[in-house]
Symmetry: D2
């Protein structure tokens, strides 16, 4: 069984693995205060091109989102996101478990719109309802789509208008920033948001996300939150080492490019057989709409993710490629798929 | 600078590192459901000698304690521990952040006593006070001391008498179980407690603690809590691989033995200079009482942990050895220390 | 200015006021353990016709809902309600503040449907999402509509099918149970739900709601929750005295009948001028759709609640009548309204 | 059975009852925004002699303490109090339920000391422990003792030194301010603290505490917290009416004087029989140490509160007098007690 189920199936990218081996017997101070973490933070600031950013390393995406939100909001303040937002659907109520309501709206292609944001704010000064104070976006989104600079700028402008913080979940920010159609850089994202994280887990690290805080108001006390929510790793250097490698010479983006390239190649395979797509994406996730009979055959040899029923006889299926996906896997899949289609058509 | 500050300064034990390298490009399902985690859990059950145990892997000690407590208690229920309990002092209020009160008592040498536990329970049926429902102990304790089988059995009996769960924080359980004076096995601990964790981070893993749940009542829904509190690692196999190595042929205990042996050797060095100890320990932590002038000299070459003032001119200092501490480091320290004592005596 | 803004504008019904005066200098034990509370609970059990019900008095609707939910759910469990549910919109995130997610669906006329409930449950066994465990309904709903016995039975059956608790917010249960079209009794509601509350504040009490718990699982520890959430009133007898009066000879339903009768009379006034309604109701809330120009005139003499814009030139407006609304007020309103319509038509 | 168990056994003081009757059929806007609440707030500001105070009415002492703390602290911040502090012992973990740790110290006579406060602060800048940010005191304390102006000023100075908020629980502030030995006014308390509440429930109101906020930082968003925690009463006017009466011509202090006078008279009775006291108090609570045999006799005719065992044969017992205690009750008690002592001495 080969898996296209996600982008965290394998361990870590070779240079990270080598660095872990190389530094294994070094002594580091714990809890993210070591030299690797410091150096990694410096490299991230350099990549972004500004030195007023706080950087913290967090073991995973869910704790990163918990921390981004809980460190910013007062108890009665709420966070706005698209209905499909990861925090709204796939984190087992982790935000609510810290006491905050999520206000969600349909969005378009997984993206919240400025108008939806404004709707939540217009009648906001009333103590019988929560007070919206933050917008949560993901880039790439949960549907594999990306924000253009114009879209994110419009959201940022709306946030400014209503005094909202803008937080970006960058679990797949690498894939987004090297995708066809993207016109943003990390620097743009740092400029437009108050806080965001650069995902490591889904782009070649063994674990770890780099939280980047630009807004001065949100910097204070972050390490207290980190510890309190159980997200301060004793051996923080493991994450520092990974992000040093990822950002010292562009590895982060090279890995993401491989993921996208593989996904786009996979897309081509489906297109040759006129398979339609649920959502047009240019990142490392694609969503073909497959006949259920064909899906069943695929599932005998490949692990993929059933997304939702499309109609009586078809399903939306998610295929994910990653830094670790190799051409050979696609060649094999192409052969298998061709055969399966043929059988299915009989 | 050489560090005796803690037992998580280095990366991981060699066999674990090798296994991580070996399995790096394997595909695993995420979130702790992979074969390495399953196999590691099986090895732990085998080590303990019973097959009715649920095993979950958690990135660190603080999230393990959060989960052990939050998964067991109703909102108005409280956990009892010694004043020095890690959850009471060094986890930034992480337990209270989940809504639960900690009831603490002085204890003896870092160990809560059955009488103290009973005190909290006798007048318990009154809704104006929290309802004590769990006892938290650490073995080894925060002072490096250990529980005897009699002591833990007495606590377990008191818990049974008052309907309390017994939870054991085993961040340093390896060191405790191979310490001079210990008369318990993992099997005893599994028998006497309702839930406990086997610490990996402080005994040779890159990260990870293995939560072991014996009490049927506490098994249900644990993975929901794991996800909700941000402690379900996407690449859970990293921890599975570590625990496979640790438990497949006794590595866990061999590593702990090295930590204790090194600490006891260090103790000998201090004893030769008639340095007294704050607490008599047989595990990998020792607490010499040093003249402040001497401590100052030591701190020029070694990283150690100031524990507390002993008197006007002396301090209690913590030295920790680990699986990674080598004889050579002790030889160097012996030389340096002898010289420092000489200079200090002038 | 006369107010049709709500049903809690005045103090309390005359017999309650008299009883408060009468018992003022009696000594009572505190915290809801007094004889008035006990007697009131007994009267409620008698009204319902079963003796297996726990009854607790709570100062208001928001704390009642907090308690109903927090006492029943585990941290990762969620409550389902209609989008318009009071807990979802008008309680400032009080449920999320206790850690629980609310899952909402559009509903029909303010009422959640069995199909919507089932949708949340079908894929429920997955730890990456919250686990739905309770359904929240209001009768009368936030739109003044009511559940038929068939509707509530269908919901209860769906809850049973999926192991969900059914909780009913009865802030306006009096008005619902005496409304035209209602075919339920308090006994039916106690039978069909696991827990519900009988609203006092909006039906003639100075304050207080009577929480009725039928499901044995949900009874344990309720008073602990009551105290912990700050909802255990020292002088609980104030509420006990009110509910004694309300339930000793049918006062509760007589008060509700007045509220409905007055609202239906008010509706007649609007109908004479062909004013349409946003929602067809038979309880004490009505929702005429008024020309904005006419609304402006009304607001000069009457306090009413703007509900939402209907179109460019019309608004939905809420008028509420209560136990305290008197015929004279309607006669005055009729005169004023006729005049305003006339002026508006010029 | 006559009760000396507490100061909230009866309903409310006569002028409040009369005002409730008088205003019963008035219409008020809900949720504490009515004219009675506004006027009561103005009267309190006038009594204190400053107009920069926010005043909110809250149904009880536990919700008042929850709100005072939760509205001021960030998640990782903690509140310091004496071991005997009401929030630490008698509120069922309500503060922890909002996520905050309580740091407690022994104190002296129920009063925290500046040195104890400083101890918690000196090593505070470390993210592995909670960050103390508030001090909680009660005046009168849970032991019936009071703070002198010097004592409270010293605490306030220590708070200022370490950037802590000072919060005062004034459930029995009336009794404290008219007690022998008191040298403070409400104005002093408003000056020295950041926030405090004036207790109504224990001094003649049917329910209600008046939260007074002086520190500008703590004013923002308070009504959101009020609603979110379920403490915003729909018929807020009930509390506004009470505080209007209490503060329009000194009723508040006259009621408190009666409570103290009665308690001091009761003390005299015990002194005549050489009964010693556990704690020297001048407020409305006294703590005689009674032979258990004598206590048993008393309990046949009077409700009192067992406080704690003093020795093998004696107990500390709490007697409370109130605004409602009448001379006649003391005369009866004197007779009964004399007789009981006589019988007991046989």
């Amino acid at each position: 069984m080969y898996s296209f189920a996600n982008d965290y199936s394998e361990g870590c990218a070779a240079p990270i693995l080598e660095a872990l081996v190389k530094h294994n017997y070094e002594q580091s101070v714990g809890y993210g205060l070591d030299d690797h973490c410091k150096n990694a933070a410096a490299l991230i600031r350099k990549e972004i091109g500004r030195d007023d950013l706080d950087v913290h390393f967090i073991p995973g995406g869910t704790p990163a989102n918990i921390l981004g939100i809980v460190s910013a909001l007062k108890p009665y303040e709420a966070v706005i996101c698209a209905d499909s937002g990861h925090i709204n659907v796939h984190e087992t109520g982790s935000i609510e478990a810290t006491g905050h309501k999520i206000l969600s709206a349909p969005g378009v292609n997984g993206k919240i719109t400025p108008a939806e944001i404004e709707d939540f704010c217009v009648n906001r000064m009333e103590e019988h309802t929560v007070y919206p104070k933050m917008v949560f976006v993901s880039d790439a989104t949960e549907y594999g789509t990306i924000y253009t600079k114009k879209e994110l700028s419009d959201i940022a402008a709306m946030c400014k208008k209503h005094g909202l913080y803008l937080y970006l979940d960058g679990a797949r920010i690498g894939s987004a920033l090297v995708a066809k159609g993207n016109d943003m850089t990390l620097a743009d994202i740092a400029e437009l948001t108050d806080m965001f994280y650069i995902g490591g887990t889904k782009n070649g690290a063994l674990l770890g996300e780099a939280m980047v805080i630009r807004n001065e108001e949100l910097k204070k006390g972050f390490r207290y939150h980190l510890k309190q929510r159980g997200a301060m790793l004793a051996k923080g250097a493991v994450m520092g080492i990974a992000f040093e490698e990822l950002f010292k010479d562009g590895l982060y983006f090279r890995l993401a490019k491989n993921a996208n390239l593989m996904a786009m190649s996979l897309k081509e395979i489906f297109k040759r057989y006129d398979i339609p797509f649920f959502m047009e994406t240019t990142t490392n996730q694609i969503f073909p709409i497959l006949p259920d009979t064909l899906l069943k055959k695929i599932e005998e040899k490949y692990t993929v993710t059933f997304w939702e029923k499309y109609d009586e006889t078809h399903s939306v299926v998610r295929f994910v490629c990653s830094w670790a996906t190799q051409k050979e896997a696609l060649i094999d899949f192409y052969k298998d798929f061709s055969q399966m289609v043929k059988e299915n058509d009989r």
